[in-house]
Symmetry: C2
Subunit: 416 residues, 2 copies
């Protein structure tokens, strides 16, 4: 297996003191460790390039039933990983990114479902990507790692399903870029998806979305420490560029309202009479927050991976092969669908979800759509809004009933 | 006089071939040249620093009447200048930034009003700023130029009024950062402002607004070519940082809708079968547009000036000295007010203007408020929307009537 040992967060991150080591909170899947699945069959990519082999980092929660009918694939967004739920066995302070959603008795109930988290191909948390060694050269791939598309991820993940002997997922689910993967699964492998759950996502980026990605890329590409993408060979890291890229991202993940309520115009360290400092150091709390987020990100995320992920976002456009007609692109889909959007999400505003809903209805697909009036912007998909989780929980209860997976054995989460 | 010869746009900018040199279009003020007014009395700034002397670049259009009652001060936004209207006599392709608004027979009718454009103190188009020579050292001020506030600009501009013998402006007017200056004029010099016209502006930046400014500043400050602000001494220009800063700005100036209609997902140079290029070069038209805007800006705009202007935006908050109560801050104002906002402006959304309107009404001020349903986002304040210009034109006709300036002598613009 060709893997790199990279953790989803920096080694210097402080432990969460609220979590006592080795004590499992109610509703948690407990301590988890990734597996690294190696696939030696070449993968032909959308670009035409061929990846000779690859490794994917995977975590699973719950038990696959005998019929192999209860599997759920959770796809991740830009900077997340396979570590969806529970506490990393090696670093118990590292809680999965969708831990509030996935666990025993939670919306995605691991007492009944077998849940798989996969680090995307091309990412930097254990799956093969730009930081991995290119077997042909013995050096890190770096800038020479091939660009990937959402469809490439689906094909790579399909082999994970094969590995577990899963012919058809009970559900494929994701938020944001993860939602694109779920949607692409329903189009690309229609007979392998029972239900498709697409949260805070889109069927194609708008010009404004692409524009923000381009700003992020320019910040990275023009950082002298990027060195054409071969920064590893030069012993540098384009930390300034990555930091600016992340700051831009963070603004788009939050609503104007939530930034106003979290930070407002609060000053960080005003003079004795509340005076401004009259310099370009941190004046306002929001500046402190953004710089902190940017710097933290630049210490643990790989720049080539960030470029690759933003380009995959830009390129996703299943309607493109159908003259821009999304309903034609979705004609092949056989899944039932749950779409969720958030009122203050201006990155992928509700209209993006509504467009998908309309295209599905045109194909007479069974669609449930929830537009949640939440203040948190795009980030809402990661948060524990009660109505949002109740919708997802109710939807999964329906899936469980249809598949005869039985009733909930315990109640946590929004029902608790 | 201490001035620098810098033009508002790069010398390499192509001439607008639609404008024949020396032919004055209808409604244009014609060929104009700046004056450079030197003020040798020290100016004490909000920061407590003292600027020993300064020069302001100024253009004027129309004639000051004998009563000196018909003067209008036009304040500019981030990257504009004193060149508000007409064609620069030296570079006739350089049209003033608000030429569609100011001219004979236009909304701000130079047949009746004497209009003054002033390049802000600290800017880089002829007024004293970071690119000017510090008389104490004989070197450019660079990073040592003092930070300025909107109030400092008002005080500096008041001396321009004194220079022309104008005790009271018929109107002070501006959009965006220029609108802040108009508002500050009404608070700071209440007896010198007859009417105050505030377009697409705000009484204080939101956390999100500050966040975008901070991203722009980080891009500049962390560019190695910035060299602590002393790039001139090192013969460098932080072009990459300035370019990224400008790209971020451009996204916030436009609505999602207008970017969708201007650029959509149009590809720049797709392969023979419409294929993606699978690299980080320009793939989409919107990327080309942004890079072009960024690169152009980095060739003509000064980085220290950009930092200074964004900080002045952040700091503007007249309510701050009144416990956050904007109505108290506006209690001193005596002017009548016109506020204009645009429905798709998400940089300074209509709610920012409505807050000012409410605070003025609480003070029983006379307020006209127009919320224009225009698709262009923040940039709408610079464009020629017919309803917008009709509102401004009607308002100025009212000012002219009250001041006995007579009726329009010719009709152009929205009435034409």
């Amino acid at each position: 297996m060709t893997t790199t040992a990279v953790f989803p967060v920096p080694a210097s991150a402080p432990a969460d003191s609220a979590i006592e080591p080795r004590i499992v909170p109610e509703g948690s899947v407990g301590f988890v460790s990734p597996e690294f699945l190696h696939f030696s069959e070449p993968l032909t990519l959308s670009s035409g390039q061929v990846l000779p082999s690859y490794t994917l980092a995977v975590e699973t929660y719950g038990q696959l039933n005998a019929a192999r009918s209860n599997a759920v694939l959770v796809c991740h967004a830009l900077n997340a990983s396979h570590h969806v739920a529970g506490m990393d066995a090696e670093r118990p302070d590292q809680i999965g990114w969708w831990d509030n959603m996935v666990g025993p008795g939670k919306a995605v109930d691991t007492d009944r479902f077998f849940v798989i988290g996969v680090n995307n191909l091309g990412s930097c948390f254990g799956s093969t990507g730009p930081t991995s060694i290119n077997p042909a050269t013995g050096q890190p791939w770096g800038a020479s790692f091939p660009l990937l598309t959402v469809e490439d991820w689906v094909h790579a993940q399909a082999r994970v399903a094969d590995h577990f002997g899963i012919g058809r997922f009970a559900a494929v689910m994701g938020g944001s870029l993860g939602g694109m993967q779920a949607l692409s699964w329903a189009i690309t492998c229609p007979d392998r998806v029972g239900d498709c759950i697409v949260v805070a996502s889109t069927a194609r980026l708008s010009a404004q979305n692409i524009a923000f990605n381009e700003v992020a890329r320019r910040a990275i590409l023009t950082d002298p420490d990027f060195r054409g993408g071969d920064y590893h060979a030069h012993g540098t890291v384009p930390a300034n560029g990555l930091s600016v890229a992340r700051m831009v991202g963070h603004i788009t993940y939050q609503s104007d309202e939530v930034m106003a309520s979290k930070f407002g115009r609060t000053q960080r360290a005003p003079g004795p009479t509340g005076d401004y400092r009259y310099n370009y150091d941190i004046e306002f709390e929001v500046e402190s927050y953004l710089r902190h987020q940017g710097e933290k990100f630049s210490r643990y995320f790989d720049a080539n991976t960030y470029l690759l992920l933003t380009r995959a976002l830009d390129y996703f456009d299943p309607a493109r092969a159908h003259g821009g007609d999304l309903s034609k692109a979705l004609a092949a889909a056989q899944a039932r669908f749950l779409l969720v959007s958030f009122s203050t999400d201006w990155r992928f505003a509700p209209e993006h979800s509504r467009e998908i809903v309309r295209a599905l209805l045109k194909n007479q697909r069974e669609v449930t759509y929830a537009e949640i009036d939440a203040p948190h912007g795009h980030d809402a998909f990661l948060l524990g809004d009660r109505r949002y989780h109740a919708v997802v929980q109710g939807y999964y209860d329906g899936i469980a009933a249809r598949l005869g997976l039985g009733a909930r054995r315990r109640v946590t989460g929004v029902l608790a």
